[in-house]
Symmetry: C2
Subunit: 295 residues, 2 copies
DNA sequence: TCCATTCTCTGACTCTAGTCAGATGATTCG
DNA sequence: CGAATCATCTGACTAGAGTCAGAGAATGGA
């Protein structure tokens, strides 16, 4: 790793965290502990406490106390869920919504103030650079993990994949039609399911099926809508190829539908060449292959 | 202020502070409170505790306790200053230096790890965008303040200005030669001294002398070496012009030395036009003027 | 010289942000 | 139906990060 790049990252960190007062919303909640403000924000238009707890990764006792404090301040009401009387539902009161909107406004004012000090050209550059950092930093923390097909996260990805294709294909799409895959085929050594995670949310997946000395078959490649434009598809493809090579596959091949133009462009630019149909997948219009053997 | 810009700043804040674990050095000090690590870092190669206290803006009792804890851990030694036996000097021990270097290495490793996940092109874009954000964020928090010429900060700026010119002019420079200014001339309504501050450090200055209905005379404009390239000179000039207009000066004029090529370029691009010599300042080669009257 | 000021230290607090071990009631599974 | 599991609450702790009010030495200025 280039030393000057590392030094730049550290300089960035220093400046950004020193400006914490300027950048960070935290200090806006002057009159209230940060934890409470955060909860206020996350409750939004009403939520069950269980999901709050798991998502913010907080101790249940701690959340309970925070909620009671917010309740005492008249910002939140809680009630037991009708469906499951163990779970608590939290809802903002009128005052709670007002308080949240106030935090929101202050946060906007702070950001506006920061920008206002700069002349137009510099302001535009700053905003553009922030957008870049935000995008690329998000991309940088995506992690790839081989996941069991029975894992709920895996199920979610495959359903999202199917929903996406169903929306985009003429005549829709169903996982049940076409060539199907048994969960056992998505486990090593038969195959694998690779998932891209952004913190705790899945943002992409891809499947490899191995056939001994034959080329590995790539399927079910999907990138979540909000995570597109981060170069995630390319990285996912590269990660899948790396794992195919690890399993000694001589090549990767795949079929795709004409509607998936970005995917086709990605395959071409990643070194895939179009080949004659190697199966009779009904949804496919194009078949591609890339050798993993070093020339 | 454009709403989408404000929204971008807030999105940036959210992503950057959520990645706090990735970006922030804080969590590297797993085995030690953050305050102690910070002190360890700031002591560097030995410092007096007084300056640590004022610079980090910490309570004296708090610093005292932190230092004793570091001393107990064998990372720091303290002794009384020979010059003033009230002040304490803190110095890192061998172990303290090793600990500091360890923190440094971990911080580098963390930054490198972040970059490593990205493919080359994205990595370069991220680093470039971070450099932009860092520069522009720094520029955005510079504040301008009219300051009394007897203030130590003012003295520092004027000395730095003189030192800079002394280094750059053929034959050097001295505030005592040429046209001099009495401190009283740098106070309203005779004139003013404007200082640009980055947190607690002065990073630029400029002087205006008012002459009733005659043009205001701009002098002593200086930008600190490490703060250059942030567009600070241009902003300083604009702030000075704004204040000259406030005092009803019809124009601003100034003289400058041929060695100061960036300054001359700045004046020209800010709308100043070269005029015949209006004084006999011995260091000057060029005289400029800009009208403040709206056409 | 003496009095005010400066620098540091000590002891006694506070507040935030948690963690941990049960207790209690609701629900689900065999 | 009974046992296990789940969601929440309560009480008892802890650690970090400070704040505040003096006390005591050293120093500087009248």
């Amino acid at each position: 790793m280039d030393e000057t790049m590392v030094a730049q990252v550290r300089r960035f960190n220093r400046v950004v965290t020193q400006q914490a007062g300027v950048l960070n919303d935290r200090y806006l909640a002057r009159d209230r502990p940060v934890g409470e403000s955060r909860l206020l924000w996350e409750i939004g238009d009403g939520r069950d406490v269980r999901s709050l707890r798991t998502e913010l990764d907080l101790d249940s006792g701690y959340v309970s106390r925070l909620l009671r404090s917010l309740e005492a301040a008249g910002l939140v009401t809680t009630e037991r869920s009708a469906a499951d009387r163990r779970v608590t539902l939290a809802r903002l009161t009128e005052a709670g919504r007002a308080e949240r909107d106030l935090l929101d406004e202050r946060s906007n004012a702070l950001a506006a103030e920061l920008l206002q000090t700069l002349p137009d050209r510099q302001r535009e550059r700053l905003v553009a650079a922030m957008a870049d950092v935000e995008r690329l930093l998000t991309a940088a923390i995506v992690r790839f993990a081989v996941t069991d097909p029975d894992d709920p996260v895996a199920q979610h990805c495959l359903r999202a994949y199917a929903a996406e294709l169903d929306a985009r294909f003429d005549g829709g799409f169903s996982l049940d039609r076409g060539i199907r895959a048994d969960p056992a085929d998505l486990r090593l050594p038969n195959g694998l399911l690779l998932i891209a995670m952004l913190h705790a949310t899945p943002v992409g997946c891809g499947v490899l099926l191995f056939h001994g000395a034959e080329p590995a078959h790539l399927k079910r490649m999907w990138v979540a809508e909000p995570a597109r434009g981060l170069g995630l598809g390319r990285r996912l493809l590269a990660e899948l190829e790396r794992r195919a090579a690890e399993q000694h596959a001589p090549a990767v091949r795949l079929e795709t539908n004409a509607a998936l133009t970005e995917a086709i462009a990605l395959y071409r630019s990643a070194g895939y060449t179009e080949v004659p149909a190697f199966n009779d997948e009904p949804y496919a219009h194009h078949w591609f292959e890339k050798s993993l053997l070093r020339q």
